[in-house]
């Protein structure tokens, strides 16, 4: 699904250049649930942004769904994001003046689906994340966990192949974090690839594979030996 061959990324800050990604080789296959870990500044968010076409890499090859991502203009990138990718952010990034159903429906607007139809679909997704009673609430009337579930519904509605989550539980307490992780696990079971950037070990350990970044390079990439399928994990606690 996602293939990196020697990806480099530098940021220009004033006169000095900051080399963030120093040759990343990575392959994520369809249906995987992967955690990307690392200390701050290790380049994990940059990695996610490049995967998500929110940022552009400087060197190396990036294949998304088997196609080489190269010299994309903004319009093409926008269409790819809309078609293949769903985003979940630490700070939710909901549009504050739109209510829950409108926020969820927004990706469908950019697919050219009529208002009536996309709002209907959005209601279904709100139901999936358990927010149906809050459909006409504005984001600031929702709790952190509700906001993140709303954001997940929005990420899902475009029927993406990959969901990219940047510290999705960073702003949540442990109970709501767990709810969000359960939601991700459920989504993953339906066949959607999920990549989660996190620095919390217990979050990372609920995925099937952990990639540790250190100083712009992959330090460790291992299958999660302790991975317990969600249902059994729930039983153990």
């Amino acid at each position: 699904m996602i293939k990196f061959n020697g990806i480099h990324k530098s940021y220009q800050t004033g006169n000095s250049s900051l080399h963030v990604l120093k040759g990343i080789d990575l392959e994520v296959t369809s249906g995987e649930m992967v955690a990307v870990m690392g200390s701050s500044g290790s380049g994990k968010s940059t990695l996610l942004n490049i995967i998500g076409l929110l940022d552009v890499h400087d060197g190396g090859d990036y294949y998304l769904d088997g196609k080489l991502v190269k010299d994309l203009n903004e319009t093409k990138a926008a269409q790819l994001r809309n078609k293949h990718l769903g985003f979940v952010f630490q700070s939710f990034n909901l549009i504050s003046f739109k209510n829950a159903v409108e926020n969820v429906a927004l990706p469908l607007y950019y697919q050219g689906i009529t208002r009536r139809k996309r709002n209907k679909i959005a209601m279904e997704y709100l139901e999936k994340v358990g927010l149906l009673p809050w459909s006409d609430h504005l984001p600031n009337e929702l709790s952190g966990g509700q906001k993140q579930r709303l954001a997940i519904a929005r990420a899902l509605i475009g029927n993406p192949k990959v969901i990219l989550a940047d510290e999705p539980t960073g702003a949540l307490d442990s109970v709501t974090s767990q709810e969000v992780m359960e939601l991700f696990t459920q989504i993953n079971k339906s066949g959607i690839t999920i990549i989660i950037v996190t620095h919390e070990n217990d979050i990372a350990h609920q995925t099937q594979r952990i990639i540790r970044l250190h100083d712009g390079k992959i330090e460790k990439d291992h299958k999660n030996g302790h991975f317990v399928p969600h249902t059994e994990f729930a039983k153990t606690i």
Binding site: T75, N93, I95, P107, Y110, Q111, G158
Partner: protein
């Protein structure tokens, strides 16, 4: 452009950002409103003054008798100058460039009577040309003509006011009124609607009749000539020509300002026209200034709007919005708001002018109105300015990488 869904999206955004929308709209509406009020007031002032000139020809030179104030060729000062019929004939024959010419002979406080009604009015004896000079409008009948003059006919032209007073609802044409006991036949009814009552408190008869019947011999109290379409300079030349000839004829010092009085309406009218040209210019300068202020206001707000929405733009881009869709979203919103607000300012401004013009009709301010093409032009200008002001930052916002837009707090 006619994508209903996009409009719904825009209306949605507007509805949820009322203050921002109001501020943008207000600066546009205010600019258009001020422009219309200024334009309307300028036109109102101009019409007021033009109206002052409306009741008599704007190309006339008026002449009155005076009294010498300087000694000249053995004559002491203080001598009264009296024009006679000869002066009329002389000017008629010897001054070039005259269009119409008429003498004036006044008889004050006469008793006019018809049946049991009577009143005191002024009689003005004039030549047939006088109608055009004073711009009298006939309600019925005719003006005094050459026959009245030549045969000293006892025919009279009465004002609407006199007609109402003496005849009430009766048709006065062909009826006889008594002026100081002498019967005169009514040949016409006129109005002189310059708003001055004393120009209606009188009747006109031919000057020859007036001189004969009311003992004026060959006296003329005043004269008026029109100079066709002469410009200010030409009119001044004719005036100087008349002054020199009158001074020569009546043997007074040509430098004597009091021997006879002259009033050149061409000169006065031109002065007013120049004054109003400057006022118009001034109004335009202020109007354009107001529009520029509006443009700057709209630009400013659009810049802030785009800045304000950078994060939202980032979110939209992450969800699949293309740069084109971002730009058109912001532009259409800007155009919609400015167009609506501009129209609003237009309606309020025109409405206020209508209200004012209905209730305020002073001699120097009347019928304010606005050149609607100017107002629409200004609105279009503001819309284009708003679109342009929105376009530049919108394009920049749409072009930045979504991750940078998302980072914006």
């Amino acid at each position: 452009m006619f994508d209903i869904d996009k409009w719904q999206e825009i209306f949605n955004t507007i509805e949820k950002n009322k203050l921002r929308t109001f501020l943008t709209g207000f600066s546009v509406a205010w600019g258009i409103f001020m422009l219309i009020i200024l334009q309307g007031s300028g036109i109102g002032l101009q019409k007021g003054v033009e109206n002052q000139f409306r009741s008599s020809a704007t190309n006339a030179i008026w002449i009155w008798n005076g009294q010498t104030s300087k000694p000249y060729k053995g004559n002491k000062p203080g001598r009264n100058i009296r024009m006679k019929n000869e002066d009329y004939d002389y000017l008629n024959a010897h001054v070039d460039g005259l269009d119409q010419i008429s003498g004036r002979f006044h008889v004050w406080s006469n008793v006019l009577a018809y049946k049991k009604q009577s009143g005191s009015y002024t009689i003005r004896g004039v030549h047939p040309d006088y109608q055009k000079v004073e711009k009298l409008s006939l309600l019925s009948g005719r003006f005094l003509n050459e026959n009245d003059q030549r045969f000293k006919q006892k025919n009279v032209l009465i004002s609407k006011l006199v007609s109402d007073a003496l005849f009430k609802a009766e048709d006065p044409l062909g009826k006889y009124i008594r002026i100081n006991g002498i019967p005169f036949k009514v040949v016409g009814v006129f109005v002189d609607d310059d708003g001055r009552d004393d120009n209606m408190q009188l009747v006109y008869i031919s000057i020859a009749t007036a001189q004969t019947v009311f003992g004026g011999e060959r006296d003329i109290h005043g004269m008026v000539v029109t100079v066709g379409d002469a410009n200010e300079k030409e009119a001044k030349k004719i005036e100087d020509d008349i002054k020199a000839k009158m001074a020569n004829l009546h043997r007074y010092d040509p430098e004597d300002e009091n021997a006879m009085f002259f009033w050149n309406s061409v000169e006065e009218f031109t002065k007013f026209q120049k004054l109003f040209a400057s006022i118009r210019l001034f109004i335009w300068v202020i109007g354009i200034g107001t529009i520029i202020a509006g443009v700057v206001g709209v630009s400013n707000i659009m810049m802030i709007v785009v800045k304000d929405r950078t994060k939202e733009i980032g979110i939209r881009k992450a969800l699949g919005a293309t740069p084109g869709s971002i730009i058109s979203l912001i532009l259409q919103e800007a155009v919609l708001i400015t167009a609506f607000a501009g129209y609003f300012g237009l309606v309020i401004g025109v409405g206020l002018l209508e209200l004012v013009s209905e209730h305020i009709q002073t001699p120097f301010f009347r019928e304010p109105e606005v050149d609607i093409s100017v107002a629409i032009g200004a609105t279009l200008l503001l819309i284009i300015a708003g679109a342009l002001a929105g376009f530049i930052p919108a394009r920049r916002a749409a072009a930045i990488k979504p991750i940078e837009a998302l980072r914006d707090e």
